[in-house]
């Protein structure tokens, strides 16, 4: 249609500019980006939250932000690469245990040491587990990877429960607060803004990553792995890389969580937390980074709000809601405001305007 119409205004001459212009603006409004608006609203709300909330709610909000960071790691792995990691808590929790041991046995609490250490622990474990599960002569089946990660997380849970050095059932209590020089990060607005800052930075890095050529290859992997392998990509290597990156993000979240709560316990590496993060991302909307953040905020927020009055039936409601989302809104709550085209988005660097014009020029 467009191709047929185009020559006509060109023939009319003088009016062309005006016609083109109006159609141009019309096009712009119809494809207006909703994603940046959603991201902006969430950011502003997050920035203002400690000013409006009471102290104990700020502490709760800090925990939610850390969990959102954790959700981001799962979203990278599942939403963008299609690897079902049912054991994401393994990296979250092992980093938590790692920094707790650093603080307990070596008295290291400096933020510039513990956060990289936690991230590195998450990265290492993810490389080991991901390398084992994903790499190899034969590509692993989806079911094998999801059960392998689930089993890994379960085994870690059992190990943590039974290992005296790690505190057994009770975990490691009363971890010293994270420090920067002589300043100590204790629960409160300072910790909140620190965590929020980290979340924003990691979010932007992830955003850059999934919109790059690498992200495009991942999206192809998620949609049709065989075809991507056929194109000459090393599909298994791509998967292992994104799995390791996810593990690193989870490790960072885990070390923050350990210092914020002040203790670590076996559940943190176990199946319960692993499935919790799956819930966040499915609720919010996998395949969009902001969806993971929103999902974590909504699930944790509603559960905090309801658990006072409906503590017993809240998990049942959560299950029913999850089932409804899976059945009727597989793309999560974010798909109510976000169109399919924008969710898929574009990849790589945008072509520069002058290059485009040159190419169009005769």
């Amino acid at each position: 249609m467009g191709a047929v119409k185009q020559p006509i205004p060109a023939a009319i001459g003088g009016e062309t500019g005006a016609v083109m212009d109006s159609s141009g603006t019309a096009k712009q409004t119809s494809t207006r980006k909703i994603l940046p608006i959603v991201e902006g609203v969430v950011l502003v709300a997050a920035l203002l939250a400690p000013l409006l909330l009471q102290d104990y709610l700020t502490v709760f909000a800090t925990r939610v932000i850390i969990l959102a960071l954790f959700a981001l790691s799962f979203d990278l792995v599942w939403g963008y690469a299609g690897i079902m990691s049912f054991g994401q808590a393994l990296f979250f929790g092992s980093a938590g245990y790692g920094v707790a041991l650093l603080a307990r046995d070596l008295d290291i609490t400096n933020i510039f040491l513990v956060l990289p250490a936690g991230t590195l622990i998450g990265l290492t474990f993810a490389l080991l587990l991901g390398g084992f599960l994903l790499l190899g002569r034969h590509p692993s089946s989806v079911i094998f990877v999801s059960l392998g990660t689930l089993t890994g997380s379960y085994a870690a849970d059992r190990l943590a429960r039974g290992w005296y050095y790690l505190g057994g059932q009770n975990g490691i209590p009363s971890i010293a607060p994270m420090s920067l020089g002589s300043y100590e990060f204790t629960e409160g607005p300072a910790f909140y803004y620190l965590v929020l800052g980290i979340l924003v930075v990691v979010y932007l890095l992830c955003r850059f990553l999934v919109r790059s050529q690498f992200g495009l290859a991942l999206a192809g992997l998620r949609e049709n792995e065989q075809r991507i392998a056929f194109f000459g990509y090393k599909a298994q290597h791509l998967k292992a890389i994104i799995f390791a990156i996810g593990g690193a993000v989870a490790g960072m979240a885990g070390s923050l969580y350990a210092f914020h709560e002040g203790f670590v316990w076996p559940n943190m590496v176990g199946v319960v937390v692993s499935t919790q993060v799956v819930l966040y991302v499915l609720f919010g909307g996998s395949g969009t980074l902001i969806g993971a953040v929103i999902g974590a905020v909504i699930v944790e927020g509603v559960s905090f709000w309801l658990s006072d009055n409906y503590r017993d039936i809240w998990p049942i409601i959560l299950g029913v809601l999850l089932l409804l989302v899976i059945l009727f809104r597989p793309l999560g709550l974010i798909s109510f405001v976000l169109g399919e085209r924008e969710r898929v988005g574009s990849f790589g660097a945008k072509p520069r305007e002058d290059v485009k014009e040159k190419r169009n020029a005769p």
Partner: protein, 285 residues
């Protein structure tokens, strides 16, 4: 000598319990290609129904007989309403059945609270062989497991129903063209698998007592067993369950329980990695 015999019996009886739990899981996974995360909760429901019968003053046997039928009926209804939508995507099926399991588990938790409720053994006491005593109920479980295994095998290999079931598994469109109602067969298979889970729950509740996370405890072991044995046949998962059950009961006798626990999983995952088709490859019975 007596010690070794008791150990062997313990190992055998735990192996039998795992086989019993994996039977239903394996049938659903092999015949329908779905890893049912709610299977553990079907076990839990079977246990709960038995407890209910006991709490209401009925004989425990009545509860144990009712459990597979009630759970099977529930499975049939759930398949028709929900599971049916998931066949196209196995991963979505895992998530969907996980959500179902969450609902069932938390409902039961709401009903029984956070307690461990005990149900007495319908056949108490012990069987004495010379100086050795073995639990009569555990012995009964072994016998029933063997009977159920034989029954399932005969049902799948020798009856008309089994033939239709296998036809639906191997080539759904040809089965449909031959006049087999595949949706009905899927429903029946799922109901059958859930009924087996219900039976397993009913039989093990006197041994493990009833608590909300009863099913979760066996779920991962069950999945690993199915993968080790090989998805696609009836015998595969059973063989896998035998191996996993025996290993997880035998290893704690020779090393620290914590290490043994983890070692079983590591061994199993490594085995699946290098032999993805499992112990017994291929489709069929």
């Amino acid at each position: 000598m007596a010690n070794a015999f008791v150990a062997a019996f313990e190992i055998l009886s735990f192996g039998a319990i795992i086989v019993l739990i994996v039977l239903g899981l394996g049938i659903i996974a092999s015949m329908m290609g779905i890893f049912n995360f709610a299977q553990g909760e079907f076990v839990l429901l079977g246990a709960y129904i038995t407890y209910l019968a006991y709490a209401k003053g009925l004989p425990i046997w009545a509860g144990m007989v009712a459990a597979p039928f009630v759970v099977g009926a529930l499975g049939f209804v759930l398949e028709a309403l929900i599971i049916r939508r998931f066949y196209a995507a196995p991963i979505v099926a895992m998530l969907g059945t996980y959500a179902l399991g969450l609902i069932i588990r938390e409902s039961v938790r709401g009903l029984i609270g956070g307690f461990y409720l005990t149900v007495p053994e319908p056949i108490g006491g012990s069987i004495d062989i010379g100086a050795m005593h073995i639990s009569a109920w555990r012995f009964t479980i072994i016998v029933i497991t063997l009977l159920v295994m034989a029954g399932c095998y005969l049902l799948l290999s020798r009856t008309n129903f089994g033939l239709r079931m296998r036809a639906t598994l191997e080539n759904p469109s040809l089965a449909r063209a031959s006049g087999i109602s595949t949706p009905l067969m899927y429903g029946a298979t799922f109901a059958f698998g859930s009924a087996l889970a219900g039976l397993a729950g009913a039989l093990i509740v006197p041994v493990f007592s009833l608590y909300a996370d009863l099913g979760l405890r066996f779920l991962i072991q069950g999945f690993v067993a199915v993968m080790v044995g090989g998805v696609g046949s009836f015998i595969g998962p059973v063989a896998g369950a035998g191996v996993i059950g025996t290993l997880s009961a035998a290893l704690p006798w020779i090393m620290a329980p914590v290490v043994a626990d983890v070692l079983v999983f590591v061994l199993a995952i490594a085995f699946i990695k290098f032999r993805p088709q499992g112990l017994i490859a291929g489709k069929g019975v």
